[in-house]
């Protein structure tokens, strides 16, 4: 689709990426990495769990009955089912969660928290929120936060746009503020309720 990329000559130069741009790209990637590392480290120190483990535990913690079907977890945190399965297996072996059969659907299982799992999520949540605030929100002013949101939406838009961009780009300028019904953009990445821990 969108075969007319060659419009407006000089396409070959369009590709050129300046030194300045690469600096942005590199710094951005470095930031991502360091941020992940710091978060991971905090979880490890405060609760002895990894980020993936925390995501599962938090999803379960927030569930009304403190238990969820595999499929529900997958939808909530945006993973694919086999990843859930593997992760839950490891966590079951570690004693953080437990699987129990589901009466109403013989195919299904409930994933629930064990006491250790409860302890872990309680121990991690508050300090996790503190860490995220310290490293991310406190480092940026209100204007920059807006910018992060806007930039993220723009990039997300450019990804699922059909790549024939000019039109899409304009459309995006138009909608701008209102959140996009984007495929996976709505994924809730952990947290939300970490503060009420």
């Amino acid at each position: 689709m969108c075969q007319l990329n060659a419009r407006m000559g000089g396409m070959s130069e369009v590709a050129a990426i300046s030194e300045r741009e690469w600096e942005v790209w590199r710094t951005f990637y470095g930031m991502r990495r360091q941020l992940d590392r710091a978060i991971e480290q905090q979880l490890q120190e405060d609760a002895g769990i990894s980020r993936p483990e925390f995501e599962i535990l938090l999803a379960l913690w927030e569930a009304p009955q403190k238990r969820l079907r595999s499929r529900e977890i997958a939808e909530l945190i945006g993973w694919e089912k086999s990843r859930i399965s593997h992760q839950v297996s490891r966590m079951e072996a570690r004693g953080l969660v437990e699987r129990t059969e589901c009466d109403s659907d013989l195919r299904g299982i409930w994933v629930g928290l064990t006491p250790d799992g409860r302890r872990a999520v309680l121990g991690a949540s508050r300090k996790h929120a503190l860490k995220v605030r310290e490293l991310f929100f406190d480092a940026l002013d209100a204007e920059q936060l807006d910018a992060v949101l806007e930039i993220s939406k723009r990039v997300l838009g450019s990804i699922d746009a059909p790549a024939c961009d000019i039109v899409a780009q304009q459309a995006q300028h138009a909608q701008d503020g209102n959140s996009e019904g984007n495929s996976e953009a709505e994924r809730r990445d952990s947290n939300e309720a970490a503060q009420r821990a």
Copy 2:
């Protein structure tokens, strides 16, 4: 270190993270993920390689003699040595790179490109740069690019600051523009020369 976090009462509220903030955080994380996925997909389609493979290949391609010592690769792309070793082993098995002994240092080895490796990096580089431009740089205006850089630096600053932030924060405002001699912030993440492919 920095035990005086409790200064300026209401600390418990300082931790609270608003719904708006979580939206920013989620969207930011979603963007990161989708971006990675898109880049990975492009490399896979255009050259049948993964991003880690591309990083190694590109480092070698850019090297004066098209070969590097393991340690040099590690410094260039900011990985630890064992990761290099594992990755090179896999790539050697796939025929993308080759290891040869090093005369001047009997402990060391040279990692060089095979013909297949050359083909792969040539096939990937140009389109990689195009993709990054399409998804990232073209989606943002100049002001936003500046913002990405500034925001990344701020967050990086907050990470390696001793966490006792107010002073560090100010110090950072002061230096602001000049790049920080930060630990790993100087990592060059792939690319640079993708355009001369």
